[in-house]
Amino acid sequence: MDKWNTGPITYDEKSRRMADEMVQAEARHFARRSAKDIDCDCKDGMFPRASFADRRTFLFAAGSLTFAAPALAQTAKTPPGAIQFPVPDDPTKEQGRPVAADGGYGSRSQFETEVRVRFPTANENTSWSFTPLDKMLGNTTASGLHFERHHGGIPTIDPAKHVLFVHGMVNGPRKFTMADIKRYPSVTRKHFIECSGNGLTEWNKPTLKTVQGTHGLLSTSEWTGVQFATIAREVGLKDGGSWVLAEGADAAVMTRSIPMEKMLKDAILAYGQNGEAIRPEQGYPLRLLLPGYEGNTHIKWLRRLEVSDKPFMTREETSKYTDLLANGKARQFSMDMEAKSVITFPSGDMKLPGPGFYSVTGLAWSGRGRVQSVDVSVDAGKTWVPARIDSVPDPICTVRFSLPWVWDGKAAVLQSRCTDETGYIQPSLAQLIAIRGSNGPFGSIYHLNAIQSWGVAEDGSVTNVHA
């Protein structure tokens, strides 16, 4: 195994290009923020809530015409998902908006600006966008901020015309309308989904600045739907049916082969997300949910399940989502997302205003079960202390953790380490590379679950570091 680990890690041409482009895109994202936000001691993002970014929006919206310079008009742009309303000087002295004047579906506050950021792949239809984990509160991702990965854009599908076919090695091939599917007994479970490419830029050196870039292909929702096992009973499985092909109704007609054992264990045909229909970007009207499996297998816009005795060896499960090792062989059907965690506050590109108390907080998760414990280090892993688990651990779901920390003003390196209920401990990057090989990751890029380090400098600035 030693021969795998000689010399520095190198990117293949495509990975290097993608990483370079993401660095540029992140720089453009920063440039769009106003100079005031960036230069201010209290940078946007210092606290999980973006409470500083919108002062000009407030002033502009309040009708202060003196501020209506072109640059200002730009910053007053309504954030996506919000509606711009005039801001009264004193909301206790005039009536607010009438009840249900929004047509019966709410919008977020005009002062909340967090958005997903797209990875700048050359083609916008086959691309991905990151959840702003640094701004995320609690342990559920807002549906509109759930990360995306599409290979042929987002289709618009009329649920009245959508049909799921279940066929292959079954006793009776059957088709189901959405109305049919919703008649079955349902389950509601909270699970994370993580793209196996999460962190692909970070193998070689600290590359992206924020936790949105390094870990944002992770989101958590409450999902509602029918268990595949229920449908399997309805159609009757033939002996020897050991794989199921899932196919999407998008322009990529995405397909993955899933082991029957997994399908029968906990696969959900999901039509609900966080209490309402799943979003179009998440597979409306129906998606496959495979708790703990890599995101690509959770086929969106699900239209077909074909039972087979063998995997189909689709493009995604041969040429793409496989993990090339340094000896030239590639791991295939590497489905499980292993235990992982990340500190979201403080995290990259934030700035602590000075020594004193901070509540360090983050997320931990495992595709193999519940999170058992999370440890935090403020000295680059020399010593660890157990973090408090702030949410009740569900199987194959994120938990929010926190640790009270009094910063003495000296340089520090913050890390978190997840242990799941199987006893698996989140590895360091060096441990992971010792197993995977030093050129393997750039053949593969996937399944980086190493401990993340954030460096805190004496001036309070927080940066992505390898420690």
Binding site: D12, N123, H167, F312, M313, R315, S319, I435, G443
Partner: protein
């Protein structure tokens, strides 16, 4: 917890969904039978070629079709095109590079099965008009790519019989996922 849930489910199904005195399990009965006609439009081609359509093609015809339907994104010499708005993968080259510091993953160097190429082109290509090529066209384009990759001879015809018999250079390049890695356990 799980044991309890499963035993409860078993109890419910035993009480409610089985006719007394009959082994026949009563289904919910939702959904409707899918007919062969309805299923005929679907395909997913495994390495043994099951489900490959009739028709055939060769590299000569494939070269013409490639120039029209594929070259804009994948390059006139199948070298790929990283330009903004395009981003087509490189299809050729990289043979022997997988165990080096700069692995190049292409159809030629990495893809283990020729059937996957047919399936993927029929499924999702060309990017601007997915699913628009005839089966003959797809066999031809597959023949052209495999021929340019020097995996088949330029004169070979690709059809439902010959395509699954093509041996890809990296057919033995994949291993099952060996995880979990025991050294990472407490």
């Amino acid at each position: 917890m799980f044991t309890h849930r499963f035993s409860l489910a078993a109890l419910v199904s035993a009480l409610v969904f089985v006719h007394p005195g009959s082994a026949q399990v009563v289904r919910y009965g939702f959904g409707t039978p899918a007919t062969p006609d309805e299923l005929a439009k679907f395909f997913s081609i495994p390495p043994d070629g099951r489900g490959l359509p009739s028709g055939s093609g060769n590299a000569k015809k494939g070269a013409e079709l490639y120039a029209l339907a594929c070259a804009a994104c994948h390059g006139e010499k199948l070298e790929g095109n990283p330009a903004k708005g395009i981003g087509g993968d490189k299809l050729l080259g990289g043979r022997g590079s997988l165990a080096t510091k700069t692995p190049v993953k292409t159809v030629e160097s990495y893809w283990p099965y020729a059937t996957t190429l047919f399936d993927y082109i029929k499924r999702a290509m060309p990017f601007n008009a997915p699913g628009s090529l005839s089966d003959d066209d797809i066999y031809s384009i597959v023949a052209y790519i495999l021929s340019e990759a020097k995996i088949i001879k330029p004169t070979e015809t690709m059809d439902a019989k010959t395509l699954p018999a093509v041996t890809m250079p990296n057919k033995d390049g994949f291993v099952p996922d060996p995880r979990p890695e025991v050294e990472l356990y407490r």
